[in-house]
């Protein structure tokens, strides 16, 4: 019964954490734009949280710089189970134009497991919302 309730609330209202791993700001701004009146993800119950301990879904952007790598693992560990990761943008998927630069790992999946990829440079806010909704469909 309790499991059913938590599952229902998780699907109806996923709380997200926005994680930047050295992105150029573009995807991050589009994630914030998804919260504002035009796109307004809150109508789906999606709420941006300030701390990893409250979050269900990590929305991560950026190609993961070497210096931020350990921080990302730390943040991932802080998120309670079950946790999901959405990699937003081309550089979070493969490194994009930064591919070959000496200080990047080349994608979020090099460091933490990823459940969903949202392509685009940067991904549009509607694509990001679509990614979250598709992830919820899989739960």
């Amino acid at each position: 019964m309790l499991n059913k309730l938590t599952r229902w609330s998780r699907i109806k209202s996923p709380w997200i954490l926005h994680l930047n791993s050295g992105a150029c700001n573009a995807c991050d701004i589009e994630i914030v734009a998804a919260l504002t009146p035009r796109f307004d993800v809150e109508r789906f119950g999606i709420l941006l949280k300030a701390t990893p301990r409250h979050a269900d879904v990590i929305i991560a952007s950026g190609p993961v710089t070497r210096q931020i790598r350990d921080r990302i693992i730390r943040i991932y560990e802080q998120v309670p189970d079950p946790k999901f990761v959405i990699a937003v943008g081309a550089c979070a998927m493969s490194g994009c134009v930064y591919r070959g630069a000496y200080n990047i790992m080349g994608g979020i999946d090099q460091v933490i497991p990823v459940n969903m990829y949202v392509p685009g440079c940067p991904a549009r806010p509607d694509a990001i919302i679509d990614g979250v909704v598709k992830l919820l469909g899989k739960l």
Binding site: N20, A23, C24, T36, I68
Partner: protein, 400 residues
């Protein structure tokens, strides 16, 4: 008793991961130590491996908010090296996009400033209006953020009559809205009282610490590359330099709102006076050996690119001095003698072009070494509570 507060490397007021260590005594900040490098991707080295044309797309991805500024600054420099003269129509479209970008960046910043001051409806208002300019940029270039409209020797896309009309229509709406924000600012005493006197930077220290952009202009330093060293089209357009002399966050808000209105003026002039002709000339594959310094006024301040060519199809060196970096020493000065509650607001006020996520602040008691983690949202709540209890600064006025 003095405390050390590490902030970051991830923090909502900072858009790039950066770590700051504040030494505080009670509520007052006495010293700040900055640790950089969390967002270091090695782009300058990367640029040496790519051709002149490919590097436009690399420089565009230095920053997602002022993407066009970096690409424009780079393209200006390379055109000088290659001795290219872009057609006037191409230049007009390039700087039209640049001004639209300034509008989007300043609207974004106004929203963030409102958010940090606890005025969330202002945040939602400005971001709603920002979508208008995002639509215009998407219409012109085909993308919302990385416009990729610059090319060596001009621009890649032309604009037609229908698009011109839509731009003018959008700008008219935005002007009406911006004037309304002026009205809100002038008639919302709690907002003005919250930002007046916060993050003081005197004119002397602004000059001594080489502050750039709206931070310098809010301290009364009339410095703007568009006026001082007018590149291409700015020399023939009519606009005014926005300055304020209150030297605080209020001044920075005023400067940016004024600049918004100046940008609308510039956009209208450029759309109405758009010359006929080609939009680009063909660029050679290689550049002659030489070096060049290119300057451009990005929304955050003066952006400098140093480019060195060695006769091949790749740059030998590309050095970027972004405006945020120039503003760091001034930020340290602004934070000194400030309050913990004002940290997010002062940071946001320089409009740092850097990325964010984890919103935790660790309070470390220097005496016992005891750590307590405070979430950024709690810090903001504390800040708002503190200012609710603080007496309203009755003499604070909207200086317009």
């Amino acid at each position: 008793m003095s405390f050390q507060i590490p902030i970051g490397p991830q923090h909502p007021a900072l858009k790039e991961p950066i770590s700051l260590r504040m030494t505080v005594e009670g509520e007052v900040i006495t010293d700040v130590d900055m640790r950089l490098g969390y967002n270091h991707r090695g782009m300058e080295k990367l640029a040496e491996e790519k051709s002149w044309l490919q590097n436009i797309y690399v420089t565009e991805r230095i920053c997602g908010i002022c993407s066009h500024s970096h690409a424009t600054c780079y393209v200006q420099g390379v055109e000088k090296l290659m001795e290219l003269a872009p057609p006037r129509r191409g230049l007009y479209i390039r700087y039209l996009v640049a001004e639209l970008e300034r509008v989007h960046s300043h609207l974004l910043w106004l929203g963030v400033a409102g958010h940090e001051a606890g005025f969330d409806s202002f945040f939602m208002y400005t971001w709603r209006d920002r979508e208008i300019v995002m639509d215009l940029l998407e219409m012109i270039s085909g993308n919302r953020v990385h416009y990729a409209i610059n090319t060596l020797g001009g621009v890649r896309r032309d604009i037609d009559e229908g698009q011109k009309a839509k731009i003018l229509e959008g700008v008219a709406t935005l002007r009406k809205r911006s004037e309304y924000y002026f009205y809100i600012g002038a008639n919302e005493p709690s907002f003005v009282a919250r930002i007046a006197g916060v993050g003081y930077l005197s004119k002397e220290s602004a000059i001594a610490l080489c502050a750039v952009g709206p931070v310098a202009r809010a301290s009364g330093v009339a410095r703007d590359v568009r006026k001082d060293d007018p590149c291409a089209v700015y020399g023939e357009l009519d606009f005014e330099l926005a300055t304020a002399d209150t030297c605080d966050v209020l001044g920075r808000v005023v400067v940016r709102v004024k600049e918004l209105l100046e940008s609308y003026k510039l956009i209208e002039q450029m759309v109405k006076g758009l010359p006929a002709g080609d939009i680009a000339v063909k660029a050679p594959r290689k550049a002659k050996p030489g070096e060049v310094v290119s300057r451009y006024e990005a929304p955050r301040g003066e952006n400098i690119h140093y480019i060195k060519a060695n006769g091949t199809d790749k740059p030998e060196r590309l050095k970027v001095r972004a405006p945020t970096l120039a503003n760091y020493p001034a930020t340290v000065e602004m934070l000194r003698k400030g309050f913990i509650a004002d940290i997010p607001l002062i940071f946001a006020a320089i409009d740092p072009c850097i990325c964010c996520a984890e919103r935790t602040v660790t309070l470390v008691a220097a005496g016992s070494g005891e750590e307590s983690v405070v979430r950024m949202s709690d810090l903001r709540r504390r800040a708002i509570a503190r200012h609710q209890n603080a007496p309203v600064k009755r003499n604070a006025v909207w200086p317009l």
